[in-house]
Amino acid sequence: MKSMINAKQLTHEFFRRDEEGNVEGISVALDHVDLDVAPGAFIAILGHNGSGKSTLAKHINALLTPSEGTLLVDGMDVSDPERTLSIRESAGMVFQNPDNQIIATVVEEDVGFGPENMGIPTDEIWQRVESALKGVGMWKYREHSPNRLSGGQKQRVAIAGVMAMEPKCIILDEPTAMLDPGGRAEVLQVAHELNRKKGITIILITHYMEEVVDADYVYVMEKGHIIMDGTPREIFSRVDDLIAHRLTVPQITLLAHRLKAAGLDIPEGILTREELIKALCP
């Protein structure tokens, strides 16, 4: 099967310059990363600040181009400037700060911004805006000003703005970092629904461990490398490795791990409270 996103030896270097513009040093944000995402998958990329995960996200949207290696998005090379717009049409991106990505002063106009740029006829823009806003549950707010919405609602509008472009893949770059717990749950639920109902490939970038539990596959990044990859259960079976990399493990998983270490006979990689209850009282 053709892959949605395929990275081979993807490398990106940032040049640090002094005041005269001479190169002072090079920092490697992505160091020979290999990645393969199948269409329709829900992928999570985990990592600390500065691990290179946002740099990776920006490559998938052709906002950055690789210094070395190749990255194919839906079969298109991100280094090819003629393909930039088609890549952005098939891989939409939602950013961290909900305020800084809403362009218009009315919700529905913001959702229509992407399709307007793509040159979609007016009637179809309205159809797309309606279905995108209904898809994220924000249809009744269509005439509101984005300034009056909560963080979670703004982020859902931003997702609708990407949805209206009808992409095959959506990259969410720390979409919940600036939200309260309620807003985080809203956004994650919408992302999972789009993945299940419309078969859109989702790439969720985050540093919250709990958010990756429901993903199909998880990549863990550190200092520009992928240091672990596997299903959430595989990743969370390696509690000691995660702790060694200063990554916090979900509380339930940690509790199960400690219980096992204390001698209880339960499996590794328990992700939810229900699983732990089942393991403890069979």
Partner: protein, 265 residues
């Protein structure tokens, strides 16, 4: 302290004026300003007054909203009136001590004050009945011919609408920065004008830094959504003229001709 500032003082209502195409309203405002400066005699001013009253009634906007705009220019009105009244040479009709009022001075002062008051009321009628978005859309469409001469019309209107979106956000941010600095002992309330202006500098610096950061984020978000300038862009809400808009154009032209003719007789 910044909370009360509302840019684009739109008054939501359902009136003929609200439903008019923004291009018609922009054109009408332009003609209205021209007409105000053509008119010099009482009869044309009567026509303008009648038209203004008719439009105010049609707009369904409370009259107090239009007067509100006058508050800011009261000083200007007084100064312009007084200077015209006393400084114009001519036949003296009245004397107060060393000050003389001439017939031309009296006439000029009245015309000047009436013009300014009408100007403010007329233009605020436009902003009260048109949303900022419609206004930028209308401007973009009306100025489109200029883009053939290389003027960045689309870019300017995009900048205006983004500015409108970010004003409340930056106002909120200013508030936040002020509170953060007040918590650390900054004083914005006491002292003279210069001391207070100086106290604003530590607010402006972080505000600018954050505005630039926001601008850079926003530019990236726009690019990510395929923004590549005005070329090949379609409109979600294209402007189309309705029958009422055509009628309005005819009325505006009739108004212009009427005032021009009456001024010449």
């Amino acid at each position: 302290m910044f909370r009360e500032i509302t840019l684009g003082q739109y008054y939501p209502a359902d009136s003929v004026l609200h439903r008019l195409d923004p291009r018609v309203k922009l054109f009408a405002t332009l003609i209205y300003i021209i007409v105000l400066f053509i008119a010099e005699k009482p009869i044309p001013f009567l026509v303008i007054t009648a038209a203004l009253i008719a439009v105010i009634v049609m707009s369904k906007v409370p009259f107090s909203y239009m007067v509100r705009g006058l508050r800011g220019i009261v000083m200007l009105l007084v100064i312009a009136g007084v200077f015209n009244l006393f400084m114009t040479p001519g036949i003296v009709v009245y004397k107060i001590g060393p000050f003389e009022i001439s017939d031309i001075g009296l006439k000029n002062a009245i015309i000047m004050v009436v013009r300014m008051v009408y100007l403010i009321i007329g233009t605020s009628l436009m902003t009260l009945t048109t949303t900022p978005n419609q206004l930028t859309d209308g401007l973009e469409r009306s100025l489109r011919p200029l883009s053939r001469l290389g003027a960045p019309v689309h870019e300017i209107s995009m900048m205006m609408s983004i500015a409108l979106r970010f004003i409340p956000i930056l106002v909120e941010e200013t508030d936040k920065i002020m509170k953060a600095q007040m918590a650390r002992g900054a004083d914005f309330e006491s002292g003279g004008l210069i001391t207070r202006a100086k106290a604003m500098v530590p607010i402006l610096v972080p505000l600018f830094v954050s505005a630039f950061r926001r601008a850079s984020d926003l530019a990236m978000a726009m690019e990510a959504r395929c923004y590549h300038g005005g070329e090949g862009r379609t409109k979600m809400k294209p402007l189309t003229y309705k029958a009422s808009d055509r009628v309005a154009y005819v009325l505006i032209m009739a108004f212009l001709v009427a005032v021009a003719v009456l001024s010449l007789i």
